[in-house]
Amino acid sequence: MQKQTDEPSNSPRPGGDRKKNLLVGLAGQQNAGKSTTFNMLTGANQHIANYPGVTVDKKSGSYKDEFGKIEIVDLPGTYSLTSFSLEERVSRDFLFTEKPDVLVNVLDASCLKRSLFFTFQLLEMGFPLVVGLNMMDVARQNGLKIDVDKLSHSLGVEVIPTVGRRGKGKNELKQAIRQTAERPRGKVLEIAYDDLEPLIADLQKKVEPHPGLTKDRPARWLAIKLLEGDSVTEKLINRDPSTAGVMSGLNEVRDHFETQNGLSVADYLVSRREKLAAKIMELCVNDSGAGRETISEKIDRVVLNPIAAPLFLVATVFVIYQLSIVKGYELTQYTWPILAKIRAIAAGLLPDAGLLHDPYVRSMGLWMVDSANTLLNYVPIFLILFALIAILEDSGYMARIAFILDKLFHAFGLHGQSTLPFILGGVFAGGCAVPGIMATKGIPDEKSRMATILTVPFMNCLAKIPLYTLLVNIYFVQYKSWVMLFLSTITIFVALLVAKLLTATVLRNMETAPFIMELPNYHPPTIYGVGQRAIERTWVYIKKVGSIVLAVSVFVFTFLQFPGLGDERQHFYEQEMNTAVEQFYSKIADNPYTEQLSEEAQLVALINFYNDYKQGRLNTRGAKAAKAFDKKIQARNPDYFLFLKPGTDKAAKKINRALRKLASKRKTLRRKIKEETIGVSILGQVGQAMEPVTRYAGFNWKINVALLSSFAARESSVATLGVLFQQGADESKTLEERMGAESLSGGFTPLHALAVMIFFALYPPCLAATIMVKVQTNSYKWMIFSILFPTTLGLVTASAIFTIGRALDISGIAMMGIFYGLVALTTLVVGLASSRQKSPVDYSYQEGHPESA
């Protein structure tokens, strides 16, 4: 990426000396269609990185023309190139340090005037420029006729009309890039600042003797920026004591100008640019559709109608839910067998299982595959979800949602644009906090952005659902849909309240920004754009599975295993197993097949064969597939297969019976060992040590262990519970039944379950999400806060619910109703109070205006 140019960027390039490879910057305002132009130029050949030291995405890609490789860097979409926002500063830094050979400026033809302000800034920076006049189709629809030649002549740069979404103008743009890089620069438009010119010339003269300043930046640009009061440029000048003198007397000059002209320097600069833009517009654009309602406006009249708007919004969320969560789950029926197959392959590759104890490599390997599979199982859901969200974004409706909901969100310290992160995080049911937190990038208001980052994890991510389903199916069977409604909405209330609390306390002093948002025209989304975004976000999720979750699963596994059982207990279990094996042999003593099983290794192989078969059968559907599967297994080992399906062979039948008994006994023993191992393991001991505290919330050590391991990754909670609740389990009983059976004896009630679910809803983000918090806030402090705060909140809430419920003898479902009512009421009161408080009528602008006193 680093590129050396010996010549200053604004000097003409010698014609004969052809530079083969070019670096091209792609700049433009938000919603001008920069991404589509970028896709059009580079195709699939692109990658994303970060600009050094900041969290701003740096998208780059490349293509080849007949002379060499063209590397294109997509600059962040900003409305201007001042130094007020991070993106703007990043763009400017890139331009001045990397010095692209050509800059492509994407303009939105349908709102040319505004786009021109940006173009002026680029021209002043002195880079060889090509203008891509995008969205020509929209402009035409709106009745705008743009004279491209005249525009090109006025600006002094080449202007290529394009329709990025349809790939129109692609070759012309590529050609123009090459030509602009090779041609010596002609006369480009220089914005005349009339009355300010003497001041600019004066400053320019002061700046010019300092090569440290003018090496990278044109002197005129520096002078204008200084007059404008650009903070980064001022800092640049003040940093070097030898140049600091340039600034002397600047304030006086500015004040003098203001008293003379009745207009501040900054306002005067704007007025000149405005005048020039108006002139160019008049010259080049013929607006026959002025005053006519555009298609977007017609749609908005319906979609943003006060009555219809909420209906459309609810319908949209409902469709997203139906298509992604409901249909997505149906799809997983087809994808799950693939994952099961992967597991089977892994199981085959790993060392074989022992009679009682498996080799460590095997159990760890399978544990990792299982952890990954649970998460990969959600991939179809996420693909659909992310594709639908990309459609919302690209079509322009997402901005409308922000517009509709901003007042609600703003009352709680959030922002209209918090909608997208919340939907990704799983507002109702199903989502993932990782892409949710990532999507907070787009929120311009730092305070709201922080509040959003810290509250997105409260949403019900997909991995919380299995635990809810498990507990609801045991303890709240008759109220199933009510409890699910409770769980999916309570988190929204809590998130809003927490956001309000945080913005009123710890985030109080954060920078806020105004809600100034463009409502872009509606566009039909392109398949390429949507597919790309959906795959990109899903890929982030898969990477999370591949890296963090797998690494953490190793730790959890280790902490659940060590230090392991004492010799005495080991010995006990071995004895038990030996007895069972002896019984097996005594039963088949006079059997003709005994010879095949005389050695223990053969026996173990047979049991494993039997288990593999059972496992495999579980994953086959339909009689035909089952038959085919049987054939396959039979081919693998016809001798053993006879014992699984003895048919009419009496002797084999006998073995089959004994084998089944032995396998079942072995399974029970292995489960007992596992449970006992967890009991004495590190995590188990921590769980027990926490009991004195968590007992107020009704959690016993088993629940503690499950919750601890779920911090690693939510989905492992159910897996851990599965291991822990298994006394006397034989294969036919589900985890629901086992937990149900234990709860009868252990006194576990719906109130307990409610406390667990509440805690789980408020529990800190999983490790992957906290790492994303670190990435997005760029601070370990906030990452730790994002762990500690929800833990405390969850524990206090769960304890209150459990202790009060128990003391007053309130049932789980009643307690749930009370809690829900309380939270909903608080939300309502807080929301009303803060929206009243922020009434704009109270706004007074006297503060800070000395002359108004």
């Binding site: 305002q29 409305y79 201007s80 001042t82 007020f84 926002s85 349908s110 709102c111 005037k113 505004r114 302000f117 940006f118 709106n142 009061g229 304030n251 500015r254 004040d255 203001e258 009745g262 207009l263 501040s264 320097v265 900054a266 306002d267 704007v270 007025s271 405005e274 607006d287 977007s296 406006e297 908005d300 943003l304 006060p306 009555i307 708007a309 909420p310 517009f403 509709i404 901003d406 007042k407 609600l408 703003h410 209209g416 920004a513 105004p514 809600f515 100034i516 948002m517 463009e518 409502l519 025209n521 922020k838 704009p840 706004y843 602008y845 006297q846 205006h849 000395p850 002359e851 108004s852």
Partner: protein, 91 residues
């Protein structure tokens, strides 16, 4: 103090000048000057809210805030609290 020069000028103390947040949907007005400063002001200028620009107030959001405006042929939304810092006059 640093931002003083970036502030809009031309307002007269506690005058009852009309602000953009007071305009009803359907009205067309002209921008006179900005009372905001710094980033807000810059952003408004970038989006075309320059002095003398014509602004159509299109509608309020269903909950009453923010408001949707049309300036230079495109649609922008502002919260009322921001609109309250833009001084306007009849078009």
């Amino acid at each position: 103090m640093k931002n003083r020069r970036q502030m809009g000028r031309g307002k007269k103390g506690r005058c009852r000048c009309r602000m953009l947040n007071e305009v009803r949907p359907g009205e067309k007005v002209c921008i006179r000057c900005h009372h905001a400063c710094g980033a807000i002001r810059q952003r408004l200028l970038d989006l075309g809210f320059v002095p003398a620009a014509r602004v159509d107030v299109i509608r309020r959001a269903p909950l009453g805030d923010p408001i949707q405006l049309k300036v230079n042929n495109y649609n922008v939304t502002l919260r009322k609290s921001e609109a309250a810092q833009i001084e306007i006059e009849a078009a």
